[in-house]
């Protein structure tokens, strides 16, 4: 590992923050019916995340990491348990209210980037503002500049490298100024150099106060996060910030 990498992945001390809880998950449970089998994707998961934290969610495949991310992003609803974002309980929320909450509070970054192939880089970045009915062309320029892709603003996704596509996806996730950034295996499709750049970007955003939750299998990405939540078989088995409640 080179020195830059070493610098990036050096974990910061896990300190329980004294800031207000951005996420409060209490007994989150998610079950699916698969044929005759009842699958417990998440089982009684409880934790809090304060504003400004950088958290990695780790665990083996099938542990429930992505399911948890979807619940935190208001893309799915728990079978039981309580979830509150910025003090707003999502229990019993209808689809419209969940969509509003997701639009205003959450930014998503996906493993496969999720860029629309027919849109240019700039159009992909401003896509969420179409749904929030606001104009953000200038903000898009600022974000593209921040992720170092101003010169690619009129290019199509297929003209970009994997790392560039993921940086576009991050700019898109930030366009509505969310308080929470959720990333699902953001380096899963990238080479190590691109992965390092993405991690550096996450760390920079986190230093600016953005709360970042990353689901990852990547050990150095997980190690770079000051706090790790480890899931196994749908249960939260380890929280580096303290004992499991």
């Amino acid at each position: 590992m080179n020195s830059v990498m070493a610098e990036i992945v050096t974990p910061l001390p896990a300190v329980r923050p004294l800031r207000p809880a951005l996420i409060r998950a209490d007994g989150l449970t998610k079950t699916y019916q698969r044929g005759n089998e009842r699958v417990h994707a998440l089982d009684n998961v409880t934790f809090n995340v304060s504003a400004g934290e950088f958290v990695a969610i780790v665990g083996p495949s099938g542990a429930g990491k992505t399911t948890l991310l979807h619940l935190l992003g208001c893309m799915d609803t728990p079978t039981s348990g309580l979830l509150a974002l910025s003090g707003t309980s999502t229990s019993g929320m209808r689809d419209g209210a969940l969509t509003r909450l997701r639009r205003e509070q959450v930014g998503f970054v996906f493993q496969h980037f999720g860029l629309l192939p027919t849109l240019s880089v700039a159009e992909n970045v401003t896509l969420p503002t179409l749904f929030s009915r606001r104009r953000a062309a200038e903000q898009a320029e600022v974000l593209l500049d921040r992720v170092g892709l101003s010169h690619r603003r009129n290019h199509r996704p297929h003209e970009l490298s994997g790392g560039e596509m993921q940086r576009v996806a991050i700019a898109r996730a930030l366009i509505n100024s969310p308080s929470l950034l959720l990333a699902d295996e953001p380096t899963g499709n990238l080479d190590s150099a691109s992965g390092e750049a993405i991690l550096a970007l996450f760390q920079e955003l986190n230093r600016d106060g953005l709360t970042v939750l990353v689901v990852t299998h990547n050990p150095w990405l997980a190690a770079a996060a000051p706090r790790q939540l480890t899931l196994r078989d749908g249960r939260l088995v380890q929280d580096t910030a303290g004992p499991i409640p």
């Binding site: 799915d76 999720g114 179409l130």
Partner: protein, 393 residues
């Protein structure tokens, strides 16, 4: 970025498939536009033609009144004749203001293979043909000839000039008058005194038809009844032109209704095709719908986007169909004119702006209806369903 541009970019993703779908709509709209333009053109053409004839009633020999009316309007040789003394009976019938006797004949000029139509008439015809504008006078002398605008131009003759009557070897005449263009069959006719026509065509004391103008057109039914009841009533056919117009228009309307059903079926098939294509597109783009839901699109946003795509496809199809109909109007007109038993000389296909708007509105309505199902299905996808169905993000 705007909704319209986003929808356009989505619709243009599979160009061939979208093109085929647009073509289906275009063909249906072209059929509808052509049908409506034909209906309008035929109606206006018929009305103008009958107005140009100037008569309220046509008296013709026994036989099919529609054939007779067609010959009187467009010019041809008649298979049978009226006796000239019927004119007096007709003129004396109460309510008849003017009765203009005509002897019409068509001849072929063997040298050119063209048909020329001659009409023998009396100066009283001018009282019936009120829309005519003459340069010169109606023939007063036996050798005088009144020429329609087209035939005068074709023969390159001027007022006072002597000329050989085409198709009638050895016969000549002097141009006494030239008609201003009427946009009707009169432009191709050559008029001469009735007695001269009876001599040339060897039809002494015979007429082909009588144009009758009434003192009060509101008394049409009574006058027609009186004409049919006069002494000559059993030997002639009395054709009220208003009735003739309504009957022919009724026949055309029946045909239009049949063709209209075909156009509606074509529209329904096109609509089903559009709906199916967009449904396929929704299935293919399930993952993208999941992305859009994840970044803040509501179900209504997704519904609106897919619906807008469908409407755009149909609107483009509508515009293309209208353009297709306009480009093909000449060909359709020729094809229909060859097949219609009775067609006005004016243009049959009359594509008006109002009809164009109607067709575009139909395309819009078609898109609106066809888009409902795919838009509803897309909007029902939850973010998590969309992402899972798309193989994850």
């Amino acid at each position: 970025m705007h909704w319209i541009s986003l929808a356009l970019k989505n619709a243009g993703r599979r160009k061939l498939r979208t093109g085929v779908t647009v073509s289906g709509v275009a063909i249906a709209i072209a059929a509808l536009f052509s049908l409506l333009s034909f209906q309008r053109g035929y109606q206006v053409g018929m009305q103008n033609e009958l107005e140009r004839l100037g008569a309220h009633v046509l008296v013709v020999p026994k036989g099919c009144p529609y054939d007779a009316a067609s010959i009187a309007l467009h010019g041809a040789s008649w298979p049978c004749y009226l006796k000239a003394d019927y004119l007096q009976r007709v003129s004396q019938t109460a309510g008849v203001a003017m009765a203009a006797p005509i002897l019409m004949n068509a001849v072929y000029d063997n040298s050119t293979g063209e048909q020329f139509v001659y009409q023998g008439a009396e100066p009283g015809l001018m009282a019936v043909k009120r829309s005519w504008h003459l340069n010169g006078t109606f023939p007063q002398q036996a050798r005088g000839r009144l020429l329609g605008a087209h035939i005068a131009a074709k023969l390159h003759v001027k007022l006072g000039q002597e000329f050989a009557l085409p198709g009638l070897p050895g016969e000549t005449g002097v141009v006494s008058g030239i008609l201003a263009p009427t946009q009707g069959a009169d432009d191709d006719f050559t008029y001469m005194p009735l007695a001269e026509a009876q001599r040339i065509f060897r039809r002494p004391n015979q007429l082909t038809h009588i144009l009758v103008r009434l003192t009060d057109p509101n008394r049409l039914d009574q006058v027609v009844s009186d004409l049919r009841g006069c002494d000559a009533g059993m030997d002639m056919n009395v054709v009220p032109l208003a009735h003739l117009f309504h009957t022919i228009q009724g026949l055309v309307n029946s045909t239009r209704a049949l063709l209209g059903c075909v156009a509606v079926v074509a529209l329904l098939i096109a609509g089903a095709g559009v709906s199916n294509t967009v449904l396929m597109a929704v299935t293919e783009r399930t993952r993208e719908i999941g992305v859009m839901r994840a970044v803040g699109a509501s179900p209504l946003d997704i519904f609106g986007l897919i619906w807008l795509e469908t409407v755009q496809v149909c609107l483009v199809g509508g515009i293309a169909g209208a353009a297709l109909a306009l480009l093909g109007a000449h060909g359709i007109e020729s094809w229909m004119r060859d097949r219609l038993p009775f067609a006005p000389t004016e243009t049959l296909i009359r594509p008006e702006a109002g009809l164009l708007l109607v067709c575009l509105a139909v395309a819009l309505g078609l898109g609106s209806m066809a888009g409902l199902l795919p838009a509803w299905r897309a909007s029902r996808l939850t973010p998590i369903e969309a992402i899972r169905a798309g193989g994850g993000l």
